[in-house]
């Protein structure tokens, strides 16, 4: 089970004066900082899939980067299987498998070389790697291109190799940031099947997406983010009253538009005070 409690992260603004004078001011912009995520809490039990949705800039990627250990939170904690983990040590990164549009493989290395390299970085032995690669090769069907360089692969093949890389160290939880963005139908299918496989094997999966139909298809739970905060976190049915796409879309849109209006009002008030 993955639990996030009160996670917050702020970034220093490159040019606070200019940001303060901006017409389209974001309420998360305060003083010299931009509060990207504030007190975000969500949880995903083992064997369930949590979908994370929200408009662009809502803080989804920052939340998932915090969860993966790439960024360090200013506040809050991450608990995996009941054990709070310090984001500064390697243990969190060892337990999480992370995949996003900005996590790529080394193009000049073959698929196998990439997998072996990352496996070794996670401290795996040669024998453990041999076994793991053989298993993943079967699950993700990459035996045909295992010895080909990544630069020579199609986007679908790359995504399969990248998924294998994300789970090479047998993580206890999987975090995927928009894993189907830019993929064709076949490659998308591979990703969705993989998520389903992980769920069946009892691994909690958190993934962000802009495709609501993927949420309907796969998710047991839903978390909705608006302006750096979680505005909903619970079973999918509890959000829109059903698992169907249309009610989900309508509820999300209504919430997103209300949030945008609220953000504009807060931004205007802050600008007026400034």
């Amino acid at each position: 089970m993955i639990e996030i409690e009160g996670l917050s992260k702020r970034f220093a603004l490159a040019d606070p004066k200019r940001a303060a004078q901006s017409q389209r001011r974001d309420p998360r912009q305060r003083g010299r900082h931009f509060y990207s995520v504030e007190s975000v809490s969500l949880s995903c039990p083992a064997g369930e899939v949590l979908g994370l949705i929200g408009p662009n800039g809502a803080g989804k990627t920052t939340t998932l980067r915090l969860l993966s250990g790439v960024l360090r939170p200013d506040a809050g904690r991450i608990v995996i299987d009941g054990e709070p983990l310090d984001t500064r040590d390697g243990e969190l990164r060892r337990r999480i498998g992370f995949l996003s549009a900005s996590t790529a493989l080394y193009e000049r290395l073959t698929v196998e070389e990439n997998l072996r390299y990352f496996g070794q970085l996670y401290g795996m032995t040669v024998q453990a790697l041999d076994e793991r690669i053989a298993l993943l090769q079967e699950q993700l069907a990459f035996s045909d291109f295992r010895h080909r360089r990544v630069m020579d692969l199609s986007s679908g093949m790359r995504q399969r190799a990248n998924i294998a890389r994300a789970v090479i160290h047998q993580p206890r939880a999987i975090v995927l940031d928009e894993p189907t963005t830019g993929l064709d139908i076949m490659a998308t299918e591979v990703v969705l099947q993989f998520i389903d496989q992980q769920r069946q094997s009892g691994v909690p999966v958190i993934f962000s997406t802009h495709h609501l139909e993927e949420i309907c298809l796969l998710c047991d739970r839903l978390a909705v983010m608006q302006l750096g905060r979680t505005v909903f976190n619970g079973p999918l049915e509890a959000y829109a009253g059903s698992r169907d796409l249309e009610p989900l879309r309508r509820t999300f849109m209504a919430q997103a538009l209300a949030s945008r209006e609220e953000s504009r009002e807060v931004g205007d008030a802050q600008a007026h005070l400034a």
């Binding site: 243990e91 990164r93 996590t103 493989l105 000049r108 290395l109 390299y117 990352f118 070794q120 970085l121």
Partner: protein
Amino acid sequence: MLKLIWLKEIKDLLRDRKTLWFVLLMPTLIMPALMGGALYLTSSGILDKQNETLDFQLVAPPAWRDTLGTLLDGHEGLRWQRELSLEGEAQWREAIEAERLHFVLQVPDGFDPDQDHPSQWQLYYNQTEDFGQYDRIHKALSPLYEQWREEHRQRWGLTESQSQMLTEPVSLTMVGTADEREAIGERIGGLLPYLLLALCLIGAMMPALDVAAGEKERGTLETLLMAPVPRWQLVLAKFAVIGCASMLVATLSLLCGVIWLLLAGQVFAVSFLVTAATTLGAFDIFLILLLILPIAFAMSAMLLALSVYARSYKEAQNYMSPVSFLIFLPAMVGMVPGMELKGGWLWAPIVNVTLAIKELIKGTIDYSLLWPVFTANALLALILLAFCTFWFSRERVLFR
């Protein structure tokens, strides 16, 4: 872990043709070929100029025109354009500029070799095109000068030595105390460290661009940052790759430079090249590389810090170009005549290395001075590496 990351980075870099081109082919083949080609073109151009036929017009009193013209025409590659009769300086200048003539020799009206004072002749020529070819005019006229001098001597009743006394009262023989090595070192000693440092920088640039900004752009840096490896280890491994590439370029450049000089010197029978190549012994080469080492490391740390700050490969290139002047400008100090390895210069990074290498090549180095030189540059490298490690740990830098 450090070794694992280093080995992977090396493998990745070696599969990149751009790196192969810049790190291996450039110092071994491309640079020697470019420099040899440039040297060949320059020297053959100068030789062509020195040997070209010089067309001239002679403006002289009628009594002397044929005598002087005949003496010059056909001698020392001079060709008299007898039919050409340009009037006045403006027309001569125009003809020389248009390269219809190479020079105009003007002998004043009323010239008389028997007069008791020297005659003022004028030679119009394009001095910017002078590569020594105009000396041939003096050579062609010298029999005539000799004849007139002899006639004056006899007329004035002077002995041979009295005549010589009048023209050259003192004969000064220059006796050089510097040996051949020192002389060669003075001539090329400033250029070699400059070239080596420039090559080190170029050798470090490609890997530095690739292992940080390139990885950021390709998305592999974030993948790497997720691995449970301390960031300082990532920095050290990447830094070591850049440092190795830089030193590899320096070593190959130096060794290939010596080999190519020897080959070229023997094939074209140019003794200067052979002497220049054999001036440096194995120990000198070792010391030169040892002095270059901390600079290569300092450059590697600096370039890595810039590269990791940049959002993309292109942005990193933009940062690196102006920063490279921080290396080039101090490296040029070694070429300034009169600069010596002493005082404050001993502790001035980069400058002290160029001066020390110059002294090494000249064979006049005081070996005890190498410690402060090495220490100053090693300190600089350490400071830059520490900064780079700190820089690499900042989220603001990694995720701009």
